[in-house]
Amino acid sequence: MTEDETAQAIAADPEHVRGLLRQMLRVRRLEEECVELYSASKIRGFLHVYIGEEAVAAGVMSVLAADDAVVATYREHGHALLRGVPATAIMAEMYGHAEGCCRGRGGSMHLFDAGTRFYGGNAIVAGGLPLAVGLALADKMAGRHRVTVCFFGEGAVAEGEFHESLNLAALWDLPVLFCCENNLYAMGTALERSESQTDIALKAAVYEVSAWAVDGMDVLAVEEAARRAVDAVRGGGGPHFLELRTYRFRAHSMFDPERYREKAEVERWMKRDPIVLLRSALEASGALSSDQWEALEQEVAAEVRDAVAFAEAGTLEPVEELTRFVYSERSPR
């Protein structure tokens, strides 16, 4: 968005825009803590943080209804949190504790929550796209006007499941919103080293899916695009596709020496930190005082503190429970 458009959006509803800032900050601070906890060996396994990309989840989640569904990837702490999974349950899951949202079975890469229709947490690149198509198919067949949103990285675009899913969704006119988080790298592989055609929205359009690219560092732009797309999908307009151009500030995971990109490139992108950008815009509009910012930081810090305390106080699932949830325990639906 231009400076003027941003100022207008702030003037129209400063409270709402501050809310978006708050959401991004919640993800940022929670994940900064996760990185610390990883170094302290409290969190183990693979840990993929979303730092730098928060505007995408914040903007998209903001326009979803309570009964919409979300499918995400292994880089999904932020999506889970902003979808409404409590930070406490997320943190306890990363600790591998029984109080975690998956009772310690999933960990960082597999957060699930039935209450918010959050269908994971999938560590197979592109593995979630067919699920999203199926969730949308179920809604369409049942005559429900719900939207299924599917997040994935641009690395997924090279997988067969991406193409099969877009084709099916378009062929059957299903209510799915595909959100491609294009952070330019799949682990160490730059987009132009993996795709002959690097215009991802164009690829989606080939399947007759309405698609466009959005500045993924501008939460207001993301929200506006997501609202337009979600409204269209909900209104029976078939699948839509957003390519959200963003950047991951941190390493791919905790085991990545980042040999594949220049520090200068990272620094260039960090100037477009979505949190810094929005905070400055709010301040410039006089819609965020330093007291308000301080209060926000404190509130978020308290949430993170509580989450860590909750996880620390958590218990280990008894080993006797090991083989539970391989098959259902309840009677058939």
Partner: protein, 326 residues
Amino acid sequence: MKTTYREAIRAAIRDAMQRDERVFLMGEDVGRYGGGFAVSLGLLEEFGPRRIRDTPLSEAGFVGAGIGAALGGMRPIVEIMTVNFSLLALDQIVNNAATLLHMSGGQFNVPIVIRMTTGGGRQLAAQHSHSLEGWIAHIPGLRVLAPATLEDARGMLWTALEDPDPVLIFEHGSLYNVAGELADDAGAVDTDTAAVRRAGADVSLITYGGTLPTVLEAAEALANDDIDAEVLDLRTLRPLDDDAIVATVEKTHRAVVIDEGWRSGGISAELSARITENAFFDLDAPVARVCSEEVPVPYAKHLERAALPSVERIVAAAREAVGARG
């Protein structure tokens, strides 16, 4: 009522579609074409394209979509033409269907039924003839069924649809044309137990699926030699009915496992191991196995026949187990 294995499955699909609005069938050519093996012939006309859904050639896509639809409250029957093509959807079957319940700490079960053709014997060579159900039976979180009779072809589907978790049904291609009598009121059958298809006292022939008719034929040949073979049809490959396996071995003290899969690392190895674990002191002879030769199933008729378990090989193995009598 006179019917065939193919018609029995079709009747089961029709019945399920009528009983439960959430049930639908999807797969390659299940609609207009009538099904790769004509199982769903006529169902499109009866139920319409919304519930009999032709899919593109996208095994991972539509199997995954079936999993998603199951998560979304539907009861999909997904047909994969043959087990060989299911390999393109293994990611969805193994990494999603089998794991979501556990990874979600019990929150998301996946009530999907995936049907596919398996097995050889029709000179279709190495990309259409393999029996990979033993592989799939390796995976916790799945239930694996192998209907070998008209009753099971008719009855397993509804039970599978009532299962809250993913069920895979393997239909052996050589069974579709098997004809016989089926009770007019044939309906759901259990999917937990193995069944004795022929009672006997001297040796247990343990098998499943498309090999059952061959094994029954071998049992008759053995009877001519005064060897009284018991035939156990496993019916369900995961979970295995350990009680029935132990019971037959306790009765005959000799076991021959017959499996169209390969011997190395196959389900026959699993059965042999379980017999040694659970009934070792009841055995009067080593457990024997008759499996497919360790080659990709060849095209030429004589080669294919030599590769698959045959009446002669089963008879020979059974005779050896009972000590070369007769």
